[in-house]
Symmetry: C2
Subunit: 275 residues, 2 copies
């Protein structure tokens, strides 16, 4: 049965490799029977800066607390129209793809701004019980549960430079703030990223191979295994949200937050439910 897919596309040049990958996704997912919506942030001239203008009414006109105003506006229907429109796409989506060039080891500012503005308090953070040993519904729980997500990105460097001992830091480490901190945080499953290395060296001769590799990943968007991040509230973290002794054995850094074979089962707690 067809699903809804949202592609958030962040590249200033439609004729770029990123633009072509976005087009491949639209074509392939549509051919596979899905309904695809693209948010082309540059073409939309999407406002990248989170500020007071994001709220049609303010709780406190004197001093801006973005989180408080975000929650207030989200709950009372006083968000900026472009933010509300993106949230509708996000809530309607069964899967979300971010298509972007890695710039300065992260996503472009226009995409980061999309996250800051669209990921409202009450929708993606500040959700669920806080206090009494609970720190909200997040990291595997939250209102975006049940959705799949994937990064599709290009990097200028060599795979070796992004490997476990590569000079840039490993791609897994570099993407952790996005994959764990942005996608998994509000409850989405996160597929392994699709990555084109040495993007400036790719030629038309490389394109059929790249296209085919990406199509395989798109074909698996609803069936491939996701990154086995641990649940915050599944029993593996203590009441200060520190990973319990004995877990993550043999690993350090961001890898300790991935389940390992033989780990004790996690309890799936009651949550606030899908938006």
């Amino acid at each position: 049965m067809g699903k809804n897919v949202l592609i958030v596309f962040a590249h200033p040049e439609p004729k770029s490799l990123n633009g072509s990958l976005k087009d491949v996704a639209v074509e392939r997912l549509t051919a596979n029977g899905h309904r695809v919506v693209v948010s082309d942030l540059y073409a939309m001239n999407f406002k990248a800066t989170a500020d007071g203008a994001d709220f049609l009414a303010r709780n406190n006109a004197e001093r801006l607390n973005y989180m408080e105003e975000s929650r207030n506006a989200y709950e009372n229907g006083t968000q900026a129209a472009d933010v509300a429109a993106e949230q509708t796409k996000l809530k309607d989506a069964d899967a979300v793809i971010f298509q972007f060039p890695m710039w300065w080891f992260s996503m472009p500012a226009i995409l980061k701004g999309w996250v800051e503005r669209v990921f409202a308090a009450g929708l993606t953070y500040g959700v669920g019980q806080h206090g009494n040993g609970r720190w909200g519904d997040r990291y595997g729980e939250g209102k975006l549960m049940g959705r799949r997500s994937m990064l599709s990105l290009t990097c200028g460097g060599l795979p070796s430079q992004f490997g476990p001992r590569g000079v840039n830091g490993s791609l897994d480490d570099l993407l952790f703030p996005i994959q764990h901190g942005i996608l998994y945080y509000p409850g989405m499953d996160v597929l392994p990223p699709f990555v084109v290395y040495q993007s400036r060296r790719q030629t038309l001769d490389d394109w059929p191979r790249l296209k085919s590799e990406y199509e395989k990943r798109l074909d698996g968007l609803f069936t491939d295994g996701s990154l086995p991040f641990r649940l915050q509230n599944g029993g593996h973290y203590d009441d200060q949200q520190v990973l319990k002794p004995g877990l993550g054995a043999g690993e350090s850094g961001t890898r300790i937050h991935l389940l390992q074979p033989g780990d004790p089962p996690q309890a799936m707690p009651a949550t606030t439910g899908k938006a």
Copy 2:
């Protein structure tokens, strides 16, 4: 002797904790005899999105390659005026402080956009010899060499949540793309970050302590030790830019890129020189 300090400040509310920390830095550094310039990105309504409008003339008007146009504009004086003005501040600075709230485990989009636009090709990347086993002057070399840099940030969470086994990932890992990938990349030394945790819980009672802690760090801006990241071209990475066997022993993840006691000395190579 007084030095030049640039503070890049990214918070929409002047009366915020971030705004107060920025004010403390201006006052303390000035009292210490330094000259301080503040780029208040929100007050400046700084353009956050890197796009074709950043170039007053284009090499290729048909298809935007941001890196190529950035280099061309930087070399030929055809950058947007706001970009050129920020570069002048950056080149004049002996130290750079980024003051920001951690949003979604990274810097605000407006600050990321400042980096994308101001860190031009030819100034901060694409510098030095590429090819024949060299991959440019970066990671400890480059045109921003000789400058110090420091992140000063606020986080909503507990220290335990950002510790080595905390649920968010360690702060060192989360900041690695910024500290290593943005500040160290063009050659700046990077001081340990100044961090206020649980920012929303801080009260006026906490302020004298926070202020005093930050003032100590500001007093050490030109004397405190910096993070011991390895030099790219100092002999510790091989010609594919992979850390050589035996180095980083007992560590994994981003920590392998920090020098350890007993590591072989690094060769400081010839570089392009300070901008």
